[in-house]
Symmetry: C2
Subunit: 131 residues, 2 copies
DNA sequence: TTAACCCATACTTAATTGGTAGGGATTAAA
DNA sequence: TTTAATCCCTACCAATTAAGTATGGGTTAA
């Protein structure tokens, strides 16, 4: 039961942008500070852009910026963009004949709700320097 | 962010045994009811036995039984036996130079504690039929 | 003695993770 | 107008993990 490094890198990059908000930063700046491969970070930022969490400007002196205020962005949102919907077991949310009587399913449902609650309760504003 | 099927199968098997407590059941009975491969379940049960969660008796008419009362066994315990210690990110709990100032680390620490709290709060007695 | 069980280890196959390679498109500045 | 720094896209690849199989042995009640 682990989140991937993609979630870790993505979160770090977004926190980095939150610290600069509303200014933009380039991939290479972020990659250097957070010790992430430039190429890999490019791909991750692409996912954030497609989800309208960040905006990009092309060309020389281009870069990425957070679109919303850090206090309006939940950690859960960031993670679900790179990892897909949060749910601790494959079968949860899926079609299962014994769904209503499956005892272990009750565990995963309860846990999934708890994880979401925790991650959506943390906002980027709580994780940046200036607060 | 998923638990493995090993955790799912393991939990199902242990719930199955909890329903029979304090009686024993054979691997093949459990495997059939829970739709798990006999060979795979054998291995999983071996881990539970080594952790003194279940006891086994060999020979014809042998089988496995839960050692403790279902109300004294937490789901978290079952899962940690097959999946190892619960922690949502590799770096958590490890040596990191920037541990005390790592903003994303705070997320994983908080989340890990929350997950443990949830899973250790659920006891097998809450998941069995008779209750 | 034999059948039903537990026990151990090695192997296999498929999917996922965690990237890299190579290029193209865009734009500010020299 | 050229150059250089940036964003953007797709394909590829290697290592690890997940999920199970195969094989064979040991134990014990009937």
């Amino acid at each position: 039961m682990k989140f991937s490094t993609k979630a870790e890198y993505g979160l770090k990059a977004i926190i980095n942008l939150a610290n600069a908000y509303p200014e933009q930063r380039s991939i290479s700046e972020i990659a250097k500070e957070e010790r992430i491969s430039v190429k890999y970070l490019e791909r991750i930022m692409g996912e954030f852009r497609k989800s309208d969490l960040v905006k990009s400007s092309k060309g020389k002196a281009g870069g990425y910026a957070l679109i919303r205020q850090p206090s309006r962005v939940a950690v859960g949102e960031v993670i679900e963009i790179v990892e897909g919907p949060i749910s601790p077991m494959k079968c949860v949310g899926m079609d299962c004949a014994k769904k209503h009587i499956c005892p272990s399913g009750r565990v995963w449902t309860k846990l999934g709700a708890q994880i979401k609650k925790t991650l959506y309760g943390i906002k980027l504003s709580e994780l940046i320097r200036s607060n």
